[in-house]
């Protein structure tokens, strides 16, 4: 187990290193001078030079990359002052420290992800199980068709529709917004209710389909049939035997989804103007804010890779037949 974790972590490091290098070099290949943008209209060459130095972009690009990577682990000193250990530099757009901004935006993304995940897990797994339980009946067809149609909806279409209906026509809810959970739990819940309902549509259908098929597969397994033949009740067998087995493929998909969601749900956050990582990324791309884009990119990639490792490790716990090599 330990060997597996060490090996996978090393692999993850290499991948992150490559991603950071690709992002960094591609961005600096752009013939747009961020210092020129920051300098404004009445720019003198001297002022430009000072700004370049402040931004840390007066050195050759490989050196800049080196300093950037060192900064993440050991911190570095900018003209604005010292930047402690996980230092991703300062935003070109507004000179805020990148790491603080990311930490500031992250709770929004986490709230959106966790709430949305609860909604799509409950609806998706529930519908899938009922469909498998009542296989071939009307309920099965209803859930299968429903999930197909739902999964074909797009957030950028459903989001405004739901908002128009619930907020502007019926006036049931306020416009989505983010209030920290610690400050106002009720406001947090009400503010994120619409985004949760909307973000689940792209995921629920997947989980319905997957849990239905893997449940049907499990119900046909020998050990389930044996348990039933011994005289155990149908419900008990369904939940204790078949359900547990059917979770294995779902855990994989869930890990992947969670990892990518935590890196920022761009379209959802953009649709509802929620200040999360995804919106931060879109905004910084629009502003050519390189340090911010780098920060968000590495942060998101870390989550995706981290959850891949977690999923593989979790396999061994759920299914003892799996040996980690």
């Amino acid at each position: 187990m330990l060997r597996f974790l060490v090996r996978r972590s090393l692999g993850a490091m290499v991948i992150l290193l490559i991603i950071s290098a690709v992002t960094f070099f591609l961005f600096y290949a752009v013939p747009r001078d961020p210092a020129m943008l920051a300098c404004g209209k009445n720019c003198t060459p001297d002022a430009l030079e000072v700004i370049r130095k402040n931004m840390g972009i007066d050195e050759p690009i490989p050196m800049q990359y080196w300093h950037f990577m060192i900064g993440i682990f050991a911190g570095r000193t900018f003209a604005q002052g010292a930047c402690p250990a996980p230092c991703f530099g300062y935003s070109f757009a507004n000179s805020d420290p990148v790491w603080d901004t990311i930490l500031d935006r992250f709770p929004t993304t986490v709230s959106l992800t966790v709430g949305g995940a609860i909604v799509f897990l409950v609806i998706g797994l529930g519908a899938g199980m009922i469909a498998a339980w009542k296989r071939g009946t009307f309920a099965d067809k209803l859930f299968s068709t429903g999930s197909l149609v739902l999964s074909s909806m797009q957030i950028y279409f459903v989001g405004p529709l739901v908002m128009a209906l619930l907020v502007f026509n019926l006036g049931l809810l306020d416009q989505p917004s983010y209030v920290p959970l610690s400050e106002d739990p009720a406001g947090w819940f009400m503010g994120l209710l619409i985004p949760w309902m909307v973000i689940q549509i792209i995921f629920t259908a997947n989980y319905t389909r997957l849990s239905r098929s893997s449940m049907i597969e499990q119900l046909a397994e020998d050990h389930v049939r044996t348990a039933r033949a011994k005289g155990m009740s149908g419900k008990f067998v369904f939940f204790r035997y078949a359900w547990r087995g059917s979770l294995i493929p779902i855990v994989t998909i869930f890990g992947v989804d969670l990892g990518s969601l935590l890196g920022g749900a761009m379209i959802t956050e953009w649709t509802f103007s929620l200040p999360g990582l995804g919106k931060l990324a879109v905004d910084s791309v629009a502003n050519t804010d390189l340090p911010m884009v780098m920060g968000v990119m590495l942060f998101s990639a870390t989550f995706i890779i981290l959850f891949n490792v977690i999923v593989d490790a979790a396999y061994a716990f759920i299914d003892p037949r799996v040996r980690l090599a």
């Binding site: 908002m163 995706i304 891949n308």
Partner: protein, 347 residues
Amino acid sequence: MTSPSQAAIAGAETPGPDGAGLNSEPVDGDKAATDQLGRSPGQLMWMRFKRDRTGVISAFVVLIMFAIAALAPVISWLYGKDPWTRYGQIRPGLLNDNAYPVKPNGGMDSEFWFGLEPGLGRDVLTQLVYGMRTSLSLAVVITILSVVLAIVIGVAGGYLGGKPDYFLGRLTDLMMSFPNQLFFVAFTPVIGALLVSPQDEMPTWLRACVLIFVMWLLGWMTLARLLRGQVLTLREREFIEAAKVAGTPPWRIIRKELLPNLVTPILVQSTYMLPNFVTGVAGLSFLGVGMQGSTPDWGRMFATGAEVYQSDITYMIFPGVAMVIFIVAFNLLGDSVRDAFDPKSGR
């Protein structure tokens, strides 16, 4: 799923990915056996597909959508409008002072069937058909390129094995770890800026190429992995061994023995890929990094729609419903194609 009895009748000797493939067709009893004698796998697939009513209907819907997109100029000519003229601005009485259509339901009437775009006052119907043309052609090109790259990488990895396989596998892993939406949003402007200096307007075809390139880079991995797995098992099968022993050159083995057996996964997977690329391209346009300027685009209609939905929800309904119909039909078609190629896999 195959029940044991079915498998016995079919006499499927080797369970493996290719059990689903083309050269070991299952035969459901004696009558069917005589029925299907002397038919090519393609004909068998077509026979099964024709019997699937959902599949045929969804195939029709998909074809109609593609036809509408391809015939956009003809439709525009018959209908007498184009997607560029700002009717609402040239003709008084169509838009009110806030630039919203005067008539209810987004200005729908006998002249502008789907209404007018708030703000610029362009015709919605022609915008939609031209926008579909843009999005669908982008998606088709991306799908073809991704499938080709996936075949090259998947078959090379699976067939060569050893070091090449290891490196191609790591490359696939690496590409899969990129946060893909973020990658698209971040790199589309970057690659654009590399090619055209920021002062100049980027030509439409170049922007389309950039979009295609970026989506292509992260579009091939799933299929490549699938094909590699298939090739790994196919490689051990007797007919490949026989071809090798007979001294067939590798290139010919890949072309004549391997590829025909990979048609099923390729076709099935690409019917799932294409709608994903359609929504992906539309998502990019929604976030403001897709097609720009006066090029009509399906995705940008959502971006406009999201700005005006509080006053005029109708504008968004047509592109939205069209997209839902397209994706539903395409997904159903994908399921039917899979069932037709591979009748043993239950739903």
